[in-house]
């Protein structure tokens, strides 16, 4: 019996020691060695990884006492699920994390899980390094919660060679787009490649553009803000859904697109089996690193106008593609802020442009980087844009975004009607936003 007692005491002591070990490494100051853990989606070997690693190296030159640990998840859906779990547990596992801004970041910020950057943004003109639009994607309640690093606009990318082969002109109206699709389809070329398997957001970009072209930016803005007269049952949303169904029925997309994954969709395009792809401005950079031999064949056009619609051709769908925020639970907010400053420095912004061929959110120096014509004109699109529609899923609260995305998938699959889509979306919005 005595033995049992001794062993139990040892066991209890061991537990206590473990617990004590956990407590002892608490709030050390802003000086001295520290470890910052960064969560993002860029795996080793991708151009954007190189951009961020460069920024981290510059940060380490200034703060050699800080070790930066990177946890990279490879793709967005994977990241978002892991991230939600981590935040639900208090957000202690990441000091700095990637975010897409909008409603999700606002929701986390509202719960006090995100470090407020507003005071620091006022110091040394940090705030002035971004355009107001870029900052609006990471702000809520008049506070800034994140640092935008990369912006994105969604454009129709197409294969010039295929278009030339069949004497096709770039479509400027919805009807012309359907006609182009007919010609391509008759020649056994996939007109537009699309992926909806786990990537409903790709399909949603078509819908967002159609809504914007039919009714401009106002209907969504009013509906999501629950302004008087704003509703997702607005005829604009139904009309756009009808046009989307028209594209599906017309055969604009490849067979089996509902089962195609995001990664293999790009392969269909780079293997030149498909002529068009509606995608964010990160696409050219990906093609340049994955299929450099076809890069010169790629060009883009703006999403065509819908006949009789209110939208203008210079209104674009887009948002922040990479922003970083600091966890409210971090032990080293000062270091984390410094790292985020480096993420938005001119050197980093130049790298975003030249190494990754993407659109920097912070001010950059166009003269000090060499870029190709495609990247240059895609960037200029953002300057000429008269309005930006932030992605619907990122403008919404998580639950509303899920309802909307699964409704869109059902619309593509022919399992719901445009009217039902709008009704269910509005019902969810009423319940969620009150």
């Amino acid at each position: 019996m005595k033995k049992v007692g001794v062993m139990l005491v040892i066991l209890i002591m061991a537990c206590a020691m473990l617990a004590a070990a956990g407590v002892s490494e608490t709030q050390s100051a802003t000086e001295g060695p520290a470890t910052l853990r960064v969560w993002d989606i860029y795996p080793e070997g991708t151009p954007f990884r190189a951009v961020l690693d460069g920024a981290i190296a510059r940060f380490n030159e200034k703060y050699p006492q800080v070790t930066v640990e990177i946890v990279s998840y490879g793709d967005m859906s994977n990241y978002k699920t892991k991230f939600a779990t981590m935040m639900a547990a208090g957000g202690r596992d990441a000091d700095v994390f990637q975010t897409w801004g909008g409603g999700q970041l606002a929701a986390y910020a509202g719960k006090g899980l995100v470090h407020d950057l507003t005071p620091s943004m006022g110091v040394d003109g940090w705030k002035e390094r971004f355009s107001p639009a870029a900052l609006s994607f990471v702000s809520s309640n008049e506070k800034i919660w994140g640092v935008p690093v990369e912006l994105a606009n969604v454009m129709f990318y197409y294969n010039k060679e295929i278009f030339a082969k069949y004497n096709l002109a770039v479509p400027t109206t919805f009807t012309e787009l359907l006609d182009v699709c007919t010609v391509l389809k008759n020649n056994q070329v996939i007109p537009i490649v699309l992926s909806l398997n786990k990537a409903e957001w790709v399909g949603d970009m078509f819908y967002q553009y159609l809504v914007t072209r039919v009714g401009g930016l106002e209907p969504f803005k009013k509906a999501i803000a629950r302004e008087p007269g704003g509703t997702f049952e607005d005829p604009v949303f139904v009309e756009a859904a009808k046009l989307l169904r028209k594209m599906v029925d017309h055969g604009c997309f490849q067979e089996g697109f509902l089962g195609t994954e995001y990664a293999s969709m790009r392969q269909v395009f780079t293997q030149e089996k498909a002529a068009m792809l509606l995608m964010g401005s990160w696409l050219p950079g990906q093609i340049a690193s994955e299929a450099p031999q076809m890069y010169d064949k790629v060009d883009y056009f703006r999403f065509p106008l819908v006949e009789g619609g209110k939208g203008s051709i210079t209104e674009v769908v887009g948002g922040t593609n990479a922003a970083f925020a600091i966890s409210g639970a971090t032990k080293y907010p000062k270091y984390a802020e410094e790292l985020c400053r480096e993420f938005s420095s001119e050197a980093t912004a130049n790298d975003v442009l030249s190494l990754a061929k993407r659109l920097p959110a912070a001010k950059f120096d166009m003269d000090s980087v060499t870029i190709d014509d495609l990247t240059r004109s895609v960037i200029e699109e953002l300057d000429t844009a008269t309005g930006i529609q932030l992605y619907y899923d990122q403008s919404s609260t998580p639950s509303l975004a899920q309802t909307h995305l699964s409704g869109i998938a059902a619309l593509y699959a022919g399992l719901t009607t445009p009217e039902k889509l709008a009704t269910e979306w509005e019902a969810a919005a009423k319940k969620e936003l009150q």
Binding site: K80, Y108, Q254, F257, T260, S264, P398, A413, T416
Partner: protein, 298 residues
């Protein structure tokens, strides 16, 4: 006598001490969370802030009115049925063949067991590229042999996707049940087979009269494993389709995950978890009752 008792109580306390760490872990990671999620299921909670909005059984009421829940339950039952029908018979067949006298036994065992060792995510991607509609193996094979009319967007067709994924599930699990059955067959005393053969039984009679009856316990266990496994199935579906297209491969577990971590409806997710728990228990208890009665009836 005294010495014996001493020894007895000593071994018992030793056993207890060795069990304590495992029990602490089990309690912390299994028992405690079950009670905790039972509590969460009575609240409306987004998983982040404090838990304040007590709503009683409202979440459960909502579940039973949720068409996606019923759709998932139906899919789960299809998976249960399909798994039993396509995993047990081939596994049993292979086990009987591979315990008999046949050349290359150990090689074949390894081959059939291999899918079980392949990681689920790797297997999912492997089969994703088999099913890929544009340049996937299956569609190209069909085109190659002139069966163009049979090509499909396998994972994208709402009426086919679930079956396409289930083929992969069966491919992965047949090897597992085969090994289970093989171990049981090898545990049957050899004398029984010898006696039967001396009495002039044909191989078929040996299987019917000796192997199968003596395997009934193992078969029952395998069926219960398969039923429970199918009811809470998650990983392969999650990686291949995440329940899509438009919920046509949604299972209760994937729906629960989406509600909990993508929609931030932690309370609703917890309630779904409890319903899942109840269904799994009901089905496995029901199944074992049913088979026990049959055994008694004989």
């Amino acid at each position: 006598m005294k010495l014996k008792r001493r020894l007895h109580s000593d071994t018992r306390s030793t056993i207890l001490i060795f069990l304590v760490p495992a029990f602490i872990l089990y309690f912390m990671l299994v028992v405690f969370p079950i009670f905790q999620s039972a509590r969460y299921s009575l609240y409306r909670w987004d998983g982040l802030g404090p838990i304040t909005r007590f709503i009683g059984l409202e979440n459960y009421k909502e579940i039973f009115q949720d068409p996606i829940f019923w759709k998932s339950l139906k899919n789960n039952l299809i998976v249960v049925f399909f798994s039993l029908a396509t995993q047990m018979p081939p596994a049993l067949f292979l086990a009987i063949i591979l315990t008999g006298r046949i050349r290359g036994k150990s090689f074949l065992r390894t081959v059939y067991f291999a899918p079980q060792i392949v990681s689920t995510v790797a297997a999912s991607y492997l089969f994703y590229y088999v099913y890929e509609p544009t340049f996937g193996l299956l569609n190209n094979l069909l085109k190659g042999i002139g069966l163009d009319s049979l090509t499909r967007g396998w994972l994208g067709d709402p009426s086919l996707a679930l079956y396409a994924v289930m083929v992969v599930i069966s491919w992965k699990y047949i090897g597992f049940y085969m090994v289970l059955f093989m171990a049981a067959i090898e545990g049957i005393p050899n004398e029984l087979f010898e006696a039967a053969r001396i009495d002039g039984c044909s191989s078929f009679q040996v299987i019917r009269k000796i192997t199968l009856p003596l395997l009934s316990g193992t078969i029952k266990t395998a069926c219960i494993l398969s039923i429970v496994g199918s009811i809470k199935y998650f990983d392969l579906i999650w990686v291949m389709t995440s329940g899509g297209p438009a919920h046509s491969t949604e299972l209760i577990a994937t729906y629960m995950y989406k509600k909990t971590f993508l929609s931030w409806e932690m309370g609703y997710g917890a309630a779904l978890a409890f319903v899942l728990f109840a269904i799994a228990i009901l089905l496995s208890v029901g199944f074992s009752r049913l088979t026990n009665k049959k055994a008694e009836g004989r």
